[in-house]
């Protein structure tokens, strides 16, 4: 019976953790200060520690010990997508491969449910989120983020035949919007006081317009470039005005020493031109941020 009780208590704990992924990671920030000492100790601390000790361990040491950097991503051209052979490619994917190589580990790409990215990260089923992630306040508070490496904007998507009517923010008030829940687009819609419905994904927002259940959507410009307009599945849609500018970054666990490593790597590869070269392959060179 006692065991039963502890199990139930543990389950409750897990539920509350899942309920607010942020609070769990904020605990870890206390570990940041001690990171330097743990690096020294890293050879002594084995991975076997199943208790609290794990939060004091160096993330770099953890990744190097297991020999793989697990990158959480979604199918998001041109940043991350699969080529004909089923290999992950894209600006983000290629950079992640190079970064892992610089750490001396192999890279493993894992497709995740975008809603669960913080849980995946804190639960150590992935080591970083590298997937054209907009650096919002929420993201920055829940993860340890790298320097921005790419510019992006939120753009308004409307059917092409009425696009001329919606070229300024005032005209948007009469439309109903679909935006991805928790996205930068939703933040913009809220800020402008627009009438909107939150949906599960940016792609769902586009489907809402196509299905006529919403008049318009707000999504990432990089995504819009790839998904709407002639030659895409949404040939009848187009994008009009940009609402803000924002930046992409890579997310690590709170207090991770990998963040600094990645910033160093970004600076080096920007300096030697490899970053730009990679960006050109995927046509995003104009958006790359100087490191």
């Amino acid at each position: 019976m006692k065991k039963m009780f502890t199990t139930t208590a543990a389950l409750m704990m897990a539920l509350s953790l899942i309920g607010c992924g942020n609070s769990a990671s904020s605990e870890d920030t206390t570990a940041t200060a001690s990171t330097e000492e743990t690096v020294v100790e890293e050879t002594a601390t084995e991975e076997t520690s199943t208790e609290e000790a794990s939060s004091e361990e160096s993330d770099l040491a953890y990744v190097q010990e297991k020999g793989t950097l697990v990158v959480g991503l979604t199918d998001f051209a041109p940043m991350d997508y699969k080529d004909e052979d089923g290999e992950w490619v894209g600006f983000d994917a290629d950079m992640a491969k190079a970064f892992a190589e610089s750490l001396g580990v192999s890279v493993e790409f894992v497709e995740i449910d975008w809603d669960n990215k913080i849980m995946e990260l804190d639960g150590k089923t992935i080591d970083c989120v590298w997937n054209g992630m907009t650096l919002t306040d929420e993201v920055k508070s829940a993860m340890d983020c790298s320097n921005a490496y790419c510019n992006n904007a939120q753009v308004v998507i409307v059917p092409a035949d009425v696009a001329d009517n919606y070229q300024d923010t005032e005209s948007l008030a009469e439309l109903t919007f679909a935006v991805e829940a928790g996205s930068a687009g939703e933040a913009e819609a809220t800020a402008l006081g627009l009438n909107f419905t939150p949906v599960k994904a940016q792609s769902d927002a586009l489907m809402e317009i196509a299905a006529g259940t919403s008049d318009a959507a707000i999504i990432d410009s990089l995504m819009a470039a790839a998904m709407v307009g002639e030659g895409t599945g949404y040939a009848d849609l187009t994008y009009t005005i940009g609402l803000n500018s924002e930046e992409y970054g890579v997310g690590f666990r709170k207090g991770s020493d990998l963040t600094a490593k990645l910033n160093e790597f970004f600076a080096a590869s920007y300096a030697d031109g490899t970053m730009m070269e990679c960006a050109k392959t995927y046509g995003v060179q104009a958006a790359v941020v100087e490191q």
């Binding site: 897990a14 769990a24 208790e51 849980m119 639960g123 586009l206 489907m207």
Partner: protein, 228 residues
């Protein structure tokens, strides 16, 4: 229309791969949950009270919470709370975690169906067996089992058809089953983006699969129709 015809081979190929995952999860769940359910059923009918209470509490928890939450807990709990991500981040780990969740969940539902089936066999059948000098084991396998199976076929077929559709819940831990595969074309995958129809097309797979299952269960019911 022409566009769809052009996309069809790529989409079908991706959906087939997704559906293979769906089927894999479906069969693994059946193989695990059908016997485990029997163990749980016997546990809850045990005359040893602590065991009976324990299994009843487990059944209550598992049936009383959404499968989606169970998936999240089983997959993320070890890494989040214990700091030890036992499943790992890869596809195999996600599939294992999903299998464990589904087997546990469905075993609990099955156990209640079994319990009803076993208790529904008249006590006179056991007594007749005892009086004829049979052992308890012989009575279970030679007398009661088939009668129990006959009783549980309709509720089990119901539950198993639900299982086919429930496998889609596993995408919450990013198991790439058929709905995930269909949705991928909305966001963009393999050069096709903004295609909505693949998602709806997945329904055809479920329909065919459940059609076959319905036929099989109908045949089984008919086969057991020879006695009452």
């Amino acid at each position: 229309m022409e566009l769809i015809l052009e996309q069809l081979p790529i989409v079908i190929h991706a959906l087939n791969i997704g559906f293979l995952q769906t089927l894999k999860l479906f069969f693994v769940t059946l193989i695990g949950a059908i016997p485990l359910g029997l163990v749980i059923a016997f546990g809850s009918m045990s005359r040893f009270k602590p065991l009976s209470y324990l299994t009843k509490i487990i059944v209550w928890i598992v049936r009383g919470t959404p499968l989606m939450i169970q998936l999240l807990i089983i997959y993320y709990f070890p890494g989040l709370v214990l700091g030890n991500p036992i499943w790992g981040g890869g596809e195999t780990g996600r599939f294992l975690a999903a299998s464990v969740s589904f087997i546990l969940n469905y075993a609990c539902y099955f156990s209640e169906i079994y319990r009803g089936g076993i208790q529904g066999v008249p006590v006179g059948q056991t007594e007749a067996g005892l009086v004829l000098g049979m052992t308890k084991t012989q009575i279970f396998f030679k007398v009661k089992l088939l009668q129990m199976i006959k009783r549980i076929v309709p509720p089990m077929s119901n539950e198993i058809i639900t299982l086919v559709k429930d496998t889609s819940l596993a995408r919450i831990i990013a198991l790439q089953e058929i709905i995930w595969a269909g949705q991928a074309f909305m966001k963009g995958s393999q050069g096709i983006s903004g295609a909505i129809w693949p998602l709806f097309f997945t329904a055809v797979y479920y329909l065919i699969c459940n059609g076959i299952l319905t036929l099989l269960f109908g045949r089984l019911e008919k086969k057991l129709d020879y006695f009452r």
